[in-house]
């Protein structure tokens, strides 16, 4: 099930040595679902983020916050190898998914993305019918499903969209409102039954009501999935996240390049109420920039 390599035999991974339990994270015997170890990410020669270390645990919501340009999206994209689509993007260090290095030489990015889904900042439904938007993922993955209709219904129900669209499944998804489109994208992601869902500012194009619906949805989904969310909305992070990672960008003295660094990572309550780092405190209290 967790075999993300091309070959079919998975080695025993229990008690893997390359798992690091960070001091800031609650000590846990469980292997983290996602774990970055000294991760630096480059676009050609430009170092976008430097030396990031943190881990996301099962059934938790981890929020990535920080000022614009500090590399949140870059880090998020590296979790399911979406950076592969950008020419010149390169990852150093190790990112492991349940103990398995997703940038390992034998790993197939397609298999990674199948298990680690992504919802984007701007809703991007396919110009197909609502039904086909949901059915697309299971179809391309060759998933064996008894009834596609049931699967579509289930995914839409879980994304709290079914009642609104059940009578117009054959209509174009582009006829939906922005908030509905975003929930459709979430439903589409759920339909391939991933283990992790990455969300890059999923609510930034939505009104407060649609935002709350998506937040409720995330709380609901957390029971079955591990979620990593990038957000600019502090209240949102405080409301939904179990853990929060605060990033900032630091200018290099010689080149002037701004490189993102992870300032602080920990329980959301700690980050928001008693941050250890001055920069976190300034940012949270709105004194930043």
């Amino acid at each position: 099930m967790n075999d993300i390599r091309n070959t079919s035999v998975a080695p025993e991974r229990t008690g893997s040595t390359n798992t690091i339990v960070h001091a800031s994270a609650r000590p846990s015997l469980e292997v983290p679902v996602l774990d970055c170890d000294s991760v630096s990410i480059f676009y050609d020669d430009f170092r976008a983020v430097h030396d990031v270390n943190f881990a996301c645990l099962r059934n938790e919501i981890t929020a990535l916050i920080g000022p614009s340009g500090c590399g949140k999206s870059t880090v998020l994209r590296s979790f399911n190898r979406m950076n592969d689509l950008i020419e010149g993007a390169r990852v150093e260090g190790a990112i492991t998914y349940r103990g398995e290095d997703i940038y390992g030489p034998e790993v197939d990015a397609i298999e990674v993305r199948r298990r680690i889904g992504m919802v984007f900042q701007k809703p991007n439904p396919f110009p197909k019918s609502i039904y086909d938007n949901i059915a697309y993922g299971p179809r391309v993955n060759g998933m064996k499903v008894d009834s596609m209709d049931d699967l579509v219904e289930e995914a839409l129900t879980r994304a709290a969209l079914w009642d609104e669209v059940k009578d117009k499944l054959k209509q174009s998804a582009l006829g939906l409102s922005g908030g509905q489109q975003q929930r459709l994208c979430i439903a589409r992601t759920i339909a391939v039954q991933p283990e992790v869902i990455l969300m890059d500012e999923p609510c930034s194009a939505l009104d407060p009501i649609a935002t709350l619906r998506i937040e409720d949805l995330m709380q609901e989904l957390r029971n079955d999935y591990t979620i990593v969310i990038v957000t600019h909305n502090m209240q949102q992070a405080a409301r939904v996240a179990d853990k929060t990672a605060f990033f900032t960008a630091e200018a290099n003295d010689t080149t002037g390049d701004r490189t993102g660094v992870l300032v602080e990572f920990g329980d959301t309550a700690t980050i928001f109420e008693s941050p250890h780092d001055k920069r976190t405190e300034d940012y949270i209290s709105g004194r930043f920039g």
Partner: protein, 310 residues
Amino acid sequence: MTSVTARTTPPTPDLRRRPRPGDIAARMGFRFAAGLTIAITLGILIALIVPSVEFFSEVPVNEFLFGTRWAPRFADASFGVVPLITATAWTTAIALFFAIPLGLGAAIFMSEFAHQRTRRILKPVLEVLAGIPTVVYGYFAVQFIQAVVFRDWLKLETGSFSVLSAGFVMGIMIIPTIASISEDAMSAVPNSLRQGSAALGATRRQTALKVVFPAALSGIIAAIVLGVSRAVGETMIVALAAGQQARIVGGPLEAGQTMTGFIANAALGDSRVGSLEYNTLFAVGLLLFVITLLINLVSIWIVRRFREAY
């Protein structure tokens, strides 16, 4: 300092219309250009229709459209256009048979698989290919494809001309048109759709064929229609390589005269203005025009029916 002026009421704003000579001149210029284009098109159409009407006053439309013997210059002249249509249909179909898969394949490769550097080299090369004069293609078809490849190398049972060599070379000629325009259409599909597809675990091939291709369909159909129109209307290659004998073409290795081939041939002759032979040219020209128009209408219907607009 400013307080003095601030207290007095500001003057009423002057919102009157101002003369803008530049705008007026530009608008007139554009209107003139648009009008001239329409006028020229109408003029050509009228120039086609007037002699055709004369033609059809002597030859019944039925006989023209469904007659199977084309011999306008013989003593017992006969004006059945079917032989010309079969030759045009063969050359066009053969051209598209090669050009559509290769052109679309090249477009998908350039847009979805090639590195940026490869694309930056390939695209201009293709566009240069599209600029080779068709006479060159025509000679290539007769002298090399037909004479050397088909007859000497492949030992095919064929004469000096065939609709296969003409159609094949015409296909090569059309590939850049189809490839370039469909590549534009596919490149215009937003990247967010490719990312959405990839994030669901789709391979590049699946994304290209199931998301990008349908989203770009209207542009791709436009490319194919342009290719069809060029094939139907292409003259030099078929005049040189398909043959000059008007007869019903039953297979790809046979020779035959296409509609355009007939026009090119007959126009070189010394038919008197106003004679039946002269009017024949325009009747065939009008038929070509109608066929192209029909193809365009069908394509508009296809696009409306199948498009996935983004």
